[in-house]
Symmetry: C2
Subunit: 167 residues, 2 copies
DNA sequence: GCGCATAGAATTGTGCACAACTGAATTGCG
DNA sequence: CGCAATTCAGTTGTGCACAATTCTATGCGC
């Protein structure tokens, strides 16, 4: 039923803010935000990244990442270096402070795990699957809607409205 | 396992942004944001609210609601009236434009429902229960951490506003 | 009545998100 | 080669979130 589905969205919205809040409390001693923490974790696990590849991992665009990475560079968490062979690309590398924090923040995942209240790994895995499927479906729906809005006359438009994005 | 629980948090974060995005696409013709839509729905369903009671419903504080309601008042979506018997309290009432939109936005829940990809009402209800429990647990954990000022390394010493440089 | 504590909303300041745009570098095609 | 199309990061502008603070009105004790 429609109203129930809207409640799903609100519950997501509330739960997301509650978890971000939990991270905020845990990360506050280091002056880190949750998105900054996500960048660090990505670099620790995957190594050097471009701004775009970070954006794919975290599903964020340069409008969000650029200022975020600038702040992280100022505090020595990361370094940004233009790639010599292609000056358009910026490589994001873990910084000295970022390396230090890897050990200091080791306890965070366990603290979060304790806070979720999800007893079994299976429950968590199941929730992840549901959420990922929801995310994918919603993104597809959004793109479909974007193509349909704007009240196009339906005629003309031989120019193939979709900007052909391959992922 | 700890890493899995962190993935739950990231999935929540991603799913929340994906659903907000879907609402953005649907609400864009009316220039509404998702939080603004939530305020309208609350007023339609519950009637006149104070800023505080709205905050309880949506789990938002006055720092978020005050500017949001000011913008909504400018566009005639709501009205704000200081209560005569207690000038501290501001009653938020649906505005003329807000009343009009009730009919115009009637289709939104169904469109969202179509986008969730959650087949049965039971699946949605189950997800809602899981998310609400997660929200409650995380909020409790956050409050507990705030009270204890956790920081297991013995460091801590907030110094909020002075990011990094805690040595 | 007076003073102080408290409640409720608004303000200030920071940091995401995100749409739209800019600007530089590179690629591709004639 | 020459140049238009594309790619990538950054910038601009708006609107949440949220901590911390401020401002006003009310309540309470004396």
């Amino acid at each position: 039923m429609a109203v129930t589905d809207e409640m799903v969205c609100f519950s997501l919205y509330a739960a997301s803010r509650a978890t971000t809040q939990a991270y905020r409390a845990l990360l506050e001693p280091w002056g880190l935000t949750y998105p900054q923490y996500l960048v660090l974790v990505t670099l620790w696990r995957e190594g050097e990244q471009t701004v775009s590849s970070l954006g794919e991992h975290l599903q964020l665009d340069s409008g969000t990442l650029s200022p975020l990475l600038r702040r992280m560079e100022v505090s020595g968490l990361v370094r940004r270096e233009r790639r010599a062979t292609d000056e358009r690309i910026v490589n994001v590398v873990i910084g000295s402070r970022g390396t230090e924090l890897r050990a200091e923040l080791e306890h965070i995942p366990a603290q979060i795990a304790a806070g979720t209240g999800l007893g079994t790994t299976e429950a968590a895995a199941s929730l992840i699957r549901t959420l990922q499927q929801l995310t994918a479906t919603m993104q597809a729906a959004t793109e479909a809607a974007a193509g349909a809005t704007g009240a196009p006359t339906g005629a003309a438009a031989g120019t193939a409205g979709a900007p052909t994005r391959d992922r």
